[in-house]
């Protein structure tokens, strides 16, 4: 199997028997970006957490680089996968520099190597290190925090990147700026990316393929260009909200 991420009949059930994710199967090729689109509660965040083993499937299997997540050591797996969440989830008591250095320092890189990597990452997301390295998250704007979140996820150069509505809490103008920046970044980096959003505009902008989720089911997974032709009320509802 040469897919980077693969779901095989994956179900995730919470106590009480409700299925948050219902028999999902799909595959992602190396360096492909898939956007999972859905309303709140559609199971898209759960799907993401099944990839980095923050959750274990109730049934079925998730494969990362050909190996079932159950066989991965969860710590190794997660350090292999960059993770960005809404509001960035930065550590408020760490400076920007230490936040970005998190995984490299967990991986015991040398101080010199960490420092140069952190600076490289800050440059990459457009925050001048001299100005930003020593700041604390509370001294940043929402957009800057989110850029630091992306820099942190990329710091140890993981081949896979998971993003959970990363730009959802930003104002519309900042959001559209940072979306474009991210698209440029995406072209330069060779990463397999799963991007979860409820924003159909974002899905069209960033996704090579778009997966549509509703009530825990993956209704469709198809090239972004074909999404408009999809004959399903949920897809139509999303496309209509776009105009």
């Amino acid at each position: 199997m040469d897919s980077t991420i693969a779901f095989r009949n994956v179900r995730y059930t919470v106590a009480g028997g409700r299925n948050l994710v219902h028999d999902i199967s799909f595959e992602l090729e190396r360096n492909e970006t898939v956007v999972i689109l859905g309303r709140s509660g559609s199971g898209k965040t759960t799907t993401l957490k099944l990839i980095n083993r923050l959750l274990d499937p109730t049934a079925g299997e998730v494969f990362v680089e050909g190996k079932s997540t159950g066989e991965w050591d969860p710590i190794r797996l997660r350090r292999h996968i960059g993770y960005v969440i809404q509001d960035a989830g930065l550590f408020p008591h760490f400076t920007v520099e230490r936040n970005i250095a998190l995984v490299p320092s967990l991986e015991s890189w040398t101080g010199e190597r960490i420092r140069s990597r952190v600076h490289e990452m800050l440059e990459l997301v457009g925050l001048p290190p001299a100005d930003f390295a020593k700041r604390f998250p509370r001294q940043l704007s929402g957009g800057e925090r989110q850029r630091v979140g992306v820099a942190r996820a990329l710091a140890a150069d993981p081949p896979i990147l998971l993003l959970d509505e990363p730009f959802g809490a930003l104002d519309p103008i900042t959001r559209s700026e940072i979306q474009k920046e991210f698209r440029d970044l995406q072209k330069r980096l060779e990463k397999t990316i799963v991007f979860v959003t409820h924003d159909v505009r974002e899905a069209f902008l960033l996704g090579k393929r778009i997966g549509l989720m509703k009530d825990g089911k993956l209704l469709a997974l198809l090239p972004a260009g074909d999404f408009r032709k999809l004959d399903h009320p949920e897809a139509k509802a999303f496309v209509e909200s776009y105009s």
Binding site: K49, N52, L54, P74, I75, R76, L77, R78, R79, H80, Y83, I85, Q86, D87, A88, G89, L90, F91, P92, H93, L102, V103, L106, R152, A153, L162
Partner: protein, 210 residues
Amino acid sequence: MNIFEVMWTNRNQVLQLTIEHIFLVGVSMAIALAIGLPVGILMTRKPRLSRPVLVFANVVQTIPSLALFGFLIPIPFIGGIGARTAIVALVLYSLLPIIRNTFTGISGVDPAIREAGRGMGMTDNQLLWQVELPLAMGVIFAGIRIATVVAVGVATIAAAVGAGGLGMFIFRGVSMVDSRLILAGAIPAAVLALAADVGLGAVEKRLGRI
């Protein structure tokens, strides 16, 4: 003689009893921290433990201190007359604020931050030491400060079980109906409580800067 003259003539004893008092409180707090911090942390890992432990600590807190000292005297090994009984009682009293604040402080850390840490591949220990404890530090320290101030006060009662401390003056003053002697014990105890609070506040500030 006014109160200050009484304290001055008894200065050697004031000093000695103050040292005894500090010893009682210091040893009790060290033991209470050694028990309370790990128990509070364990409760965040095993939530089912949290209710029974908090109920126990709450119940202990409701026992009047004089009664608690009295209960402990006949118990072998931990009881008897002297400092040991007093230390056991003070530890029991100090546990509640330390355990509860450790537990609520760590539980109060934003779940999104914890999840981000776990998602980035931090082990449970790394999450605890690098994220949860530093972020809960303010709440935990508030508990330690309350526990210490309360212990300085309760330790005055330790004199009733022969443990010494500034309570000696207070009990003597009560039995002789001499308010100057009561104050000779109460004033240094109050100063101790304030000093401990300010001192711990300074320690907290230092730790916060790391």
